[in-house]
Amino acid sequence: MGEVLKRYGAGLTTAIILLTVFWLLILLILPNLTMFESSFRPYLPVAEVGGPKDVYSFGNYMNIFGGEVPMSIFGIEVLVSARVKIFILTIFYAIVVTVIAFIMAYPLAYYLAKVVSPKSLPTLFLLLFVPLWVSEVLRSFAWYVIMTLKGPLNGILMQIGLIEKEIRWIDGYSPVVVTLVYAYVLFMLFPLYNAMQSLDSNQIEAAEDLGSPWWRTHLRVILPHAKPGIASGAVMVFMLSAGSLLVPAIIGSTTGNWFTQTIQGVMLEEQNWNGGAAFAFLLLIVCTLIVVLAMWLFRVKLSDIAR
């Protein structure tokens, strides 16, 4: 701190501090505290706000219950409320997206880091970056175009005779999962690549010279080294997927609802802002807990990720 003052003087130091405070306090901490506080207040007409009915309660959080529907969890049939079911499925499928993205990105990250000639790397990366430059709304829409009933996917499959009738692809959660993987797989690829690139190739050769089969080299040498990259990629993909609103809203059907859509409904259709705040906070806290739990399970520290 004194360093800054010595180098840039009182005026500039004040400006630097003020800008940072504005960012962290006004744009970040206070809005989140406001959201937290609002989430405990009832949804009232404007005239009654601040009146005797405006007391703190867990009412907004309880709204998630009510309207029981059957759901099978690991084969066991249970009755849960429709919103809880959507919440559980959102978290579950966000994890599925993360796992698929990892399986898809791992071989490619290895290929880019250790196999391909360094000369062609810039071109490959430029090509890989193209979808990242294209808006998410358009990328989701692209899959909508592909998977519609009369779209090219059904067209090609019928042309080569694999199916006889058009399949309704946009149904349930699978189109959402496919599109989320498509949208976020690169957020897994780049951290993985960075982690693997820092591995000394001699270590791989040493393992091979000592007779380790390829799968054991990956399991014992490359995977452990890439763990921080896997962790940051997984955290990124999971949080983005669970918090995505565009993808499920564009490609989801009524049978594939995401919890963010529930939040949107409460906020913008019911105009119940405090209720929306409660659900948004619920999403934030559960996602954060899952990330913390996963990091503890895989023994990764935050400082490993934020490198």
């Binding site: 180098r7 500039l12 744009l27 990328r139 090219p152 609103l245």
Partner: protein, 277 residues
Amino acid sequence: MYKTRNMLGHIYMVAFLLFLLLPLVVMSGAAFNDSKLPTVVPWKGFTDRWFIDLWNETRVWTAFRNTIFVALGVVALSVPIGTAGAILINSISGRWRATLYGLMVAPILIPGVVIGISTLLFWNNLSVGSGLHLSVLGQVSYIASFVMLLVLARLQSFDQGLEEAALDLGASHAQVMRRILLPHLYPAIGAGAAIAFFQSIENFNVTLFTRGGADTLTVYVFSKVRSGITPTINALALILILVTLVAAAIYEINRRRNARIEAAREADARRAEEAML
């Protein structure tokens, strides 16, 4: 053994690129199909009428203008904020640094829905109504993190001795900032501005909750997809993809030229050093 493995790698790479790029090609192709639905099969003949329809739609133009205004606002705020944050964090150490760093990086992970709702509620409590100005503030809260990370990375290669030398030679504090630190940071600041601009154009979640009634391009496309789609969306998509591709290409060419210049400079310096010895 190695050959087959490398071959598999090449094949997988090509398949992966196809997976990434084909959907965009299919979507763009549908912009030229003379069919009421956005599709490429059956191909009903080439047409440019979706582009003409798009041109005549006033809502697109408003949305386009709004998007650019918001993006410029986000750049104007997030670049100085992110840069200040990076300079501050670079100068402190210990536990405070970790806490501050965590706070500055966290917004990247916070779901956009949460950022949107919290921004809306906070400013609404202060009697600031919803609208695109809130979208700007909401977006800045996480886009500044990207700028901060870029500038911080660049600061690692900064020689603070230069600043001390300048101060010893009688430079004012403002001169140290303007003539020594900022010129070193310009590449990162430029990249940060570009990323902030494109992140803002892309943004949907924050904008949706804070925009009030105003349209941005993503919100416009979204509402169009939800209510009766025509291939005008595909036409818009193709135009946006082409614009971003051109911008990306310019950015990349620029980056490579700068890298070449810097490498040449370093080589010169090394040669000069060797000549002195």
